[in-house]
């Protein structure tokens, strides 16, 4: 067994903090009540350092570092909320909103969305960048769940939870750059996936409304197509 990692002391936002040597800046900060925004991070999954919201400033370095992967070091001085960082975070969120079709008012995850929460927390009232408005499909072939690419931010939490926790590796990415697309198996409809166990973990970890449970969408609204007697009578040939 390897020896326990040494304890390090460091400064986060002017606060003296101690952490174990294998802890990330993010872990140490949260343990001490300092919040750093994240989107792709989820406790228990491997870190990818992709969303760049958790970037922090380190004294003595011009390069910003992702708090989710950067390990603590003795004597480190971390700043988590400078005007520069906040500006970048707002821009990153703006870029996400402009990238696909995020329309909160008609989204299944309205009020339960981490992207929306982050936007609110960062005071985003509008997006300055041109909306790209791509034409993206919805995969509703699975009997219980659905995938709406328009709301996907490519954080890959679903990919990781499916691979690392469920062990199915149903999800992966296709293509690159802005054309990246979440796919199940070898780009087959989700409902036809051989590997999907329908465990629903991906739906639970999705930060937005991209992956959702169909029964939780229309389920609450009871529809009554028979309420117009006129239609019933027409169907039955009574008129």
């Amino acid at each position: 067994m390897s020896p326990a990692p040494a304890v390090k002391t460091l400064l986060i936002d002017g606060k003296d903090v101690s952490a174990s040597g294998d802890q990330t800046i993010l872990g140490a900060a949260r343990e001490n009540g300092i919040s750093i925004p994240t989107l792709c991070h989820l406790d228990g999954l491997t870190e990818v350092g992709a969303c760049r919201l958790c970037l922090v400033e380190l004294k003595g370095s011009t390069r910003l570092q992702p708090a989710c992967v950067m390990l603590v070091e003795e004597g480190m001085e971390v700043t988590t909320h400078t005007p520069r960082l906040q500006k970048y975070r707002r821009m990153i969120l703006e870029l996400l909103f402009a990238e696909r079709n995020h329309v909160c008012s008609v989204c299944v995850a309205n009020n339960m969305c981490e992207l929306q929460d982050q936007a609110e927390a960062h005071g985003i009232t509008h997006v300055r960048f041109p909306y790209r408005s791509p034409s993206l499909p919805v995969d509703a072939s699975h009997e219980r769940f659905a995938l709406d690419h328009n709301r996907c931010i490519l954080c890959t939490r679903c990919v990781r939870v499916c691979n690392e926790i469920e062990g199915a590796h149903t999800w992966d990415l296709l293509g690159r750059g802005v054309n990246s697309l979440l796919i199940s198996d070898l780009h087959e409809p989700w409902g036809e996936s051989d590997t999907c166990t329908s465990c629903g973990k991906c739906v639970q970890v999705c930060p937005t409304g991209a992956l959702f449970d169909k029964s939780k969408v229309g389920g609450k609204v009871r529809k009554n197509p028979d309420f117009l007697s006129y239609l019933n009578e027409m169907r039955e040939g009574l008129r």
Partner: protein, 547 residues
């Protein structure tokens, strides 16, 4: 293999060459080959046979002056023949012992050749890249034997450090320091990787080296393996280089045959082998962590560093990863000494650098100059300047990660620091010369499109940011931009370069930033007057309609 055996192979190879009083070397690297130099070689062979001439016809690597290809060199007088056609074969063979016709001759006294210093390219165009014996005759594998029998791994690292060699892939990290780090990292299994995923537009240095002198790279890698304690090396070469791959395969096979690869190399305890991995066409796989992911069979996306590959690289083992040109310098450094190498170049950038000179310049081709050579000398003396009727405007170095350098900096000595100071980078060595027919906004847009389509999509700033910058630049070129868009563009440049995960995103705004720095008035003309002075952008049509 001993020094005596090596010397014997060299002597035999030289003797075999000398049985012919004359030789015709035909360039069969990709540039000339695309002009069917293989047919010229067959025509020359046929003609030699027909006349019973006592002449040897051989295929060699790149001779440098690609724009005048197909090229043929006549030995032993070294006369260079340009624009050779199949129909010239009878005349060339007939005049083997007399003066060649003027129309074919290109004098080696021209500055193109005189101003160059060849280290990496010393054998390029002189030896047959598919014959290991010819490489040995040109002192090949002596450095390896010297390293394995006379030097300790630490001494090799010291020698490389002493040479001052810096990473030729573009970032310029001291090679000796990198080797030392990997050598000192504790681990039973280590790897050496050669990055041959050259992808910058306008860059063909690594391809030419691999096509013209593959053994040089292999020798550098084997020495590196011995120095850092690795037993397996990978060459990651892009699939778009089929000829380089073929020649590497031949070279690896021949090196195994003579015992330079395999177990107990040259009767020492050291074993090393090299495998080729072929890239699938993603530019981002030139980034070291993405390259490693690709070799491991995963999606080629970068991961945050640290840990650096020197500590945790391929399969989480300590990994040395260097560029083709870095490895190609090693045999000469060991043969002639680190101090000798350090005597070339500038204070902080030692040795020579290979550049692929292209664009609006007379002599398009592959050149090698000492570090610190002024840009003016490269473009106007060696390159022969911009063709008639046009004026030099800027030179683009470093590909999509680099920038455009305007005329006022032409006397700048080319090294890592000075290029950075003026907003560009050394990069891997692509050098694109632009004249007044180039629109700088359009150039920036071109490179942004490249970065956008080559972004892996992992981190948001690069994925969505490059797409937004491309959209804003497109508005400028098609005349729909507003002044506000310029502010947005500059904000995005700052943000994408500060927050992106890997070098691709961090440097993607460079072409925009450098053109904004030196050609801001062109941006303003596009936005305010809907006018493109070079006449290449769509916005001019709009201006005509409204006028």
């Amino acid at each position: 293999m001993t020094f005596e055996e090596l010397e014997q192979i060299a002597t035999d190879a030289r003797a075999a060459k000398e049985t012919f009083p004359r030789a015709l070397n035909v360039c069969v690297a990709a540039g000339c080959l695309s002009l069917h130099s293989d047919a010229i070689k067959s025509a020359l062979e046929k003609e030699v046979r027909r006349r019973g001439a006592n002449c040897r016809v051989a295929g060699t690597g790149c001779m440098g002056l690609c724009s005048l290809g197909p090229l043929v060199t006549r030995e032993p007088d070294g006369h260079l023949l340009k624009n050779v056609a199949e129909s010239d074969a009878p005349e060339i063979v007939a005049k083997l012992n007399s003066a060649m016709p003027e129309r074919l001759l290109y004098s080696r006294d021209q500055p193109f050749f005189q101003r160059q210093t060849a280290i990496v390219l010393e054998n390029s165009g002189r030896i047959d890249p598919e014959k290991i014996e010819e490489y040995i005759a040109a002192y090949g594998y002596q450095a390896l034997l010297h390293a394995l029998t006379d030097l300790t791994p630490a001494q090799i690292v010291q020698e490389v450090s002493k040479s001052g060699l810096r990473g030729r892939g573009g970032a310029g990290y001291p090679t000796g320091l990198k080797w030392g780090t990997v050598a000192k990292t504790i681990g039973t299994t280590k790897y050496v990787i050669c990055n041959a995923d050259e992808g910058d537009p306008g860059a063909f240095m690594d391809r030419s080296v691999l096509e013209s002198d593959p053994h040089r790279v292999l020798e550098g890698m084997i020495v590196a393996g011995y120095a850092v304690g690795a037993n397996l090396g990978y060459i990651y070469v892009r699939a778009e280089y089929p000829l380089a791959i073929k020649r590497l395969q031949v070279a690896i096979r021949d090196a195994r045959r003579l015992g330079f690869l395999g177990s107990q190399i040259c009767n020492t305890k050291f074993s090393f082998d090299i495998e080729i991995r072929i890239g699938g066409g993603a530019f981002v796989c030139g980034e070291e962590t993405a390259l490693i992911a690709s070799i491991e069979g995963r999606r080629g996306t970068p991961r945050p560093r640290p840990p650096f590959p020197a500590q945790s690289g391929l399969w989480e083992m300590p990994t040395l990863i260097n560029n083709v040109e870095s490895f190609a310098n090693i045999p000469t450094i060991l043969r002639r000494g680190g101090e000798w190498y350090a005597s070339l170049g500038t204070n902080k950038s030692k040795g020579t650098k290979v550049f692929a000179l292209c664009g609006k310049v007379r002599n398009v081709g592959l050149i090698e100059v000492p570090m610190g050579t002024p840009l003016r000398q490269i473009i106007f003396d060696i390159g022969g300047g911009v063709p008639e009727g046009h004026r030099f405007k800027a030179v683009q170095t470093g590909g999509p990660s680099g920038g455009c350098i305007p005329e006022q900096f032409l006397d700048l000595p080319v090294d890592y620091e000075s290029l950075k100071e003026v907003g560009s980078i050394m990069g891997s060595g692509g050098m694109i010369v632009m004249d007044d027919s180039a629109c700088m906004v359009n150039v920036a847009r071109y490179f942004m499109e490249f970065c956008m389509s080559e972004s892996c999509g992992k981190c948001i700033p690069c994925r969505a940011g490059t797409a937004q910058m491309f959209e804003l630049l497109t508005r400028m070129t098609n005349g729909t931009a507003k002044l506000n868009d310029l502010d947005l563009l500059e904000e995005l440049c700052d943000m994408v370069s500060s927050t992106s995960l890997c070098g691709l995103g961090q440097s993607a705004p460079n072409p925009v930033l450098s053109t904004l720095r030196y050609f801001r008035e062109e941006y303003m003309e596009h936005i305010v007057r809907k006018h493109c002075r070079a006449g290449v952008c769509e916005c001019n049509k709009l201006a005509e309609v409204s006028a």
